[in-house]
Amino acid sequence: MADDRELRERIRRGDADAFGSLYCIYAPRLEIFLRHVLQDRQAAQDVTQETFARMWERPNGFDPARGTLRAYLFGAGRKRAAEWWRKRGAQVAALENDSCARSAEAAALVSDALARLPEEQRSLLWLREVEGHSYEELATILDVPIGTVRSRLFTAREELRKIWRSEPNSKEKV
């Protein structure tokens, strides 16, 4: 696959094949990430489509000097997810209560524990553990210094560990 700078140039010129390659590689991963951030499969699909639509319409939004294309896409997706949460603000409390109620009987412990984390911590852990983003990429996505990435990752892991440990069937032995 072409490097990020070349890919952006091709997309700017309206090269559908280049954009198709980008979409095939990243859209499924972004959508799965957004499912965990948004806790809503349809919304995850919509936000994924919106993120790529924006990339297609405004490829200049990505600046290769500021980070990788992958980091840009996940950062853009996460910002749109945050907007989605803000618009759904009134419904958040109900959803959080529901996730607590479900946790006692949940089969997927880690999924349930993740769902009980704040959105930012959930995003950060997923991007690091599943997507394997580097600290530099996470700093770009979250728009924070690298030192802050390290401290936030630690805080998120500790929160997840405490929730996980409190689960009745947790595998953790700490």
């Binding site: 700017r12 309206g14 559908a16 954009f19 198709g20 979409y23 095939c24 859209a27 499924p28 991963r29 972004l30 959508e31 799965i32 499912r35 499969r41 699909q45 994924t48 489509q49 790529f52 639509a53 297609w56 319409e57 200049n60 910002k79 945050a82 907007e83 997927a108 412990l109 880690v110 999924s111 993740l114 930012e120 852990l125 997923w126 690091r128 553990e129 599943v130 600290y135 979250l142 728009d143 924070v144 210094p145 802050t148 390290r150 401290s151 936030r152 990752l153 630690f154 892991r157 500790e158 997840l160 560990r161 996980w164 440990r165 595998k171 953790e172 032995k173 700490v174």
Partner: protein, 370 residues
């Protein structure tokens, strides 16, 4: 070392990051820290297992075709046109000229920056919209201007320069005071059709804005991007009681805390105060007047130095900040814009921001816009 002192390094070590030697030595002999390391590893494995079990994504390779760029109104039917396209294009140009929608812009000799000024008619502030017309840097501008009757949302996009003529796309919208302003200018105008216009240097033209009236636009050229893009005629010297902050960089103990692009200026407020918000850090207030709990700092042109909470700070900006030689500073670590800022575009906890307002406003429970 104690476990508490190295706890953050356990997480960093798990990520393969370099950690201090003494922290690594402690982790190597401490069962408690190693248990945490193992727990992080187990959690990571479980998350990756969870991801592998996820139902298939709906974002199939062929679905991206749905989001390809929609053709512009003038492109619809153009491809299947049955009369000569050149004839149709000529006809279209004549129609546009007759409607007064096409105005010619002549770029000044050597001018590479278009300053497109616009103002509500008959009276209103002139708002310069700055765009470069070479390479692809800063080719759009978006403003939301709060007027007495509502908010004017304006977006201009550089399209092309043909010899000495420049073409721009304009989108406008007026929101009544009763309507909420959510998102930035581009988000507000997403569904508004674009008017393609061009301007003759120095000539003023008017376009209608639904619900508001008319705005007047004027095109001019500069050979550089002005430092103050909203006030291109300004000089470096601050006015009396003026507080101006351009692209601030806040440094603590020789490490950059935040580096933000943009500018914010307050004129004629004796208590003008800079607020810098950094996610994870809270906010800093830097005021031209003393206030409760604040420490004194010194000003030298575009630099402010102060010592706060045992740390030495240096604020650097691109221009002289104030005529005053002293400022007063506080730090509130738990400040969240979402809990205090009234304007939705400012009430965001996830990105750094700064602005200059009166101290009185910044200390209110709900911080109003200017």
């Amino acid at each position: 070392m104690k476990c508490q002192e190295v706890s953050e390094f356990v997480s960093a070590l798990y990520d393969g990051e370099t950690i201090p030697k003494d922290a690594a030595e402690h982790i190597g002999i401490c069962d408690h820290c190693r248990e945490h390391l193992n727990a992080y590893s187990s959690m990571g494995n479980e998350m990756r297992r969870l991801a592998s079990l996820e139902p298939e994504s709906a974002s199939k390779p062929d679905t991206w075709q749905q989001i390809r760029r929609s053709p512009a109104w003038w492109q619809k039917g153009f491809a299947t046109m049955r009369i000569p396209r050149i004839a149709f294009a000529s006809m279209l140009i004549v129609i546009l000229l007759l409607c007064g929608g096409l105005v010619l812009v002549r770029a000044g000799a050597g001018g590479r920056v278009l300053i497109l000024g616009y103002k509500p008619v008959p009276t209103g502030p002139v708002l310069p919209c700055t765009m470069t017309i070479v390479n692809n840097h800063a080719t759009t501008c978006s403003h939301i201007t709060h007027l007495s009757s509502g908010a004017l949302v304006f977006n201009a996009r550089f399209l092309r320069q043909d010899e000495d003529r420049t073409e721009v796309g304009i989108r406008t919208k007026f929101l009544l005071q009763t309507e909420s302003v959510e998102g930035d200018g581009e988000a507000q105008l997403r569904d508004v059709p674009e008017q393609i216009l061009s301007f003759e240097q120095g000539e003023s033209k008017r376009i209608a804005v639904s619900g508001m009236g008319t705005i007047e636009l004027t095109g001019n050229y500069l050979d550089h991007i002005p430092t103050l893009i909203y006030q291109p005629d300004e000089t470096l010297d601050p006015q009396e009681n003026e507080f101006r902050v351009v692209t601030p960089v806040l440094i603590r103990d020789q490490k950059v805390v935040v580096n933000i692009d943009g500018n914010s200026i307050s004129c004629c407020n004796a208590d003008a105060t800079l607020m810098i918000f950094v996610p994870g850090e809270g906010r800093y207030l830097i005021s031209g007047v003393p206030f409760e709990g604040a420490v004194e700092g010194s000003v030298h042109l575009g630099q402010i130095e102060f010592v706060l909470e045992g740390h030495k700070y240096l604020l650097l900006t691109s221009m002289p900040i104030t005529r005053s030689e002293h400022v007063w500073v506080t730090h509130e670590a738990d400040f969240k814009p979402s809990e205090r800022m009234v304007r939705p575009e400012e009430a965001r906890d996830d990105r750094p921001m700064f602005l200059v307002r009166s101290l009185d406003k910044l200390q209110q429970p709900r911080i109003p816009h200017s």
